[in-house]
Symmetry: C2
Amino acid sequence: MAWQGLIDRYRERLDIAQGAEPISLCEGNTPLVPAPFLSKLIGAEVHLKYEGLNPTGSFKDRGMTTAITQAMFEGAESVICASTGNTAASAAAYAARAGLKCIVLIPDGKIALGKLAGAIAYGAEVVAIRGSFDDGLKMVRDVTRHAPIALVNSVNPARLEGQKTAAWEVTEQLGQCPDWLCLPVGNAGNISAYWMGFHQVKQSPQLLGAQAAGAAPIVRGHVIENPETFATAIRIGNPARWAQAEDALRESNGKILAVSDSEILKAYQLLAQREGVFCEPSSAAGVAGLMKEAEDRPDDFIGRKIVCVLTGHGLKDPDTAVGQNLTPTIINADVNELLKHLERDTK
Amino acid sequence: MAWQGLIDRYRERLDIAQGAEPISLCEGNTPLVPAPFLSKLIGAEVHLKYEGLNPTGSFKDRGMTTAITQAMFEGAESVICASTGNTAASAAAYAARAGLKCIVLIPDGKIALGKLAGAIAYGAEVVAIRGSFDDGLKMVRDVTRHAPIALVNSVNPARLEGQKTAAWEVTEQLGQCPDWLCLPVGNAGNISAYWMGFHQVKQSPQLLGAQAAGAAPIVRGHVIENPETFATAIRIGNPARWAQAEDALRESNGKILAVSDSEILKAYQLLAQREGVFCEPSSAAGVAGLMKEAEDRPDDFIGRKIVCVLTGHGLKDPDTAVGQNLTPTIINADVNELLKHLERDTK
């Protein structure tokens, strides 16, 4: 039978209303792609959980199917979220499918084009605020206390219910629980959800979380007032799930570390140009963290089964891909010009 | 066991070198998403084959896994293609994974941003030509006669071998062969490949092909010198697989028709805003064709099982999504401003 999405697949393990009709876009079931180049580099068996192949291009769809399903069941007519972009696109898509109005708050001027495009295409009302993601989250938490609108940020527990399914998929696809799971940490909803999922089936890898050096509140131990990184999806200074992330890290015997933007960029390029897997910059933070930690403590990783979560597709942020490179060579539509160009190229 | 891509799944049915080591990004296995809004509109059971969830964001990955696998087996060191964008990104990704050099020829200034971003990110050499896709295809066919470079456009038979797997997936997922399969027609490789796939298992739906009105050579019966449509992926005036497309249409008792850019845009918006499925503009041509034909001849469609192929993800062309809409409302990071905005909104 065809894959019908996460609620259809895992309903009995999810804490959502049992009578609710699933709102699904056939999310989940994303590939676990072997990473031969990274495997050789580290001397381990590395796989990439390619969450960018969810319907709206990011892992957020896992939690959104449950959040919107629950909101519909509870009679919501509109939903709202604050977002660095991926949550916005996902909320907009599932709201459109459910026939709900969707309002998204984004930090003005700090959203990757592909993310904004999604939210707009799905028909959401996009409101840009003169402030950060953290400001936006505070605003939507406030506003949903005063207006009959459902909040679908990851502070909504139904979001984590769906999101935790990724932990089960990883273990099912690998045929066993991995030794390490590496992932970027922004608002810390995802690391919390993976931990919930692993905890529920009583088998967890060590978690390796990576924050961008300019937006690393958990690593630093304090709120970052003005978080900065080109990896916009994790440009968050005060994670909503901070305490849960710390629990997850401690209980899984895990680690969290900061990686610089240049380390993230290097991992981003390696993934695309060596593995053939294009992810958004923030997604590469988990891989950057793995590469850094494996260099410092190789024995913790050699021979292990390692899964790196790539949270979003590279197409979410086309400007980063194009921006690093020059404009293409332009030639006339003449085969001799092409031959000359190719010859010059091989000299 | 985890999904390991199309060659792993279907090898015995594919005409590629049996000893070849698969170069795969776990392509295929894309969801067949139910389309409740379209189903109601047409009075049929409509599903969307969401090919935008292949690794590089389009259906091209199906044929590229077989083409690059075959090229590697034959000892290629570099590959080349002409492309409106999707083939370029796909060739670049699989070449990167195989460690091959990749050169892509694109029509200058007529490529959607998300497609160019992919090709560049995967490390391909992008050469823009002052000419059309058709000019580019002629150039790469010529050049591969003079230089030791493998051609990976869909004139390469290994491309269609992989591409035909989509026909089998559709039938497996639906639990039966659909009555109609609707899809956009550009270079006509995809409709030819579906036909090959259905023909091989001796069961085919009626094929409904749609060309953009400004780039409809098969509908018009003659080459279009200067094809024009905003659906860049099907802006092709002289399809390489023209004769095979006509065979497929005739033998499947199918149809081909032209749809205007405004009909394509309407279908594109309906898909995103009603079904929650964001595809690239050209992908919506098949749905536009279905809507048009079902209005003219409703009895041919009522009660039928219909699959529409959405060839690429909407993220491939973010500018089309953003371009149609105004810039977002901007407010201060103040919950009262947000409440005021929401109240005004509901009046």
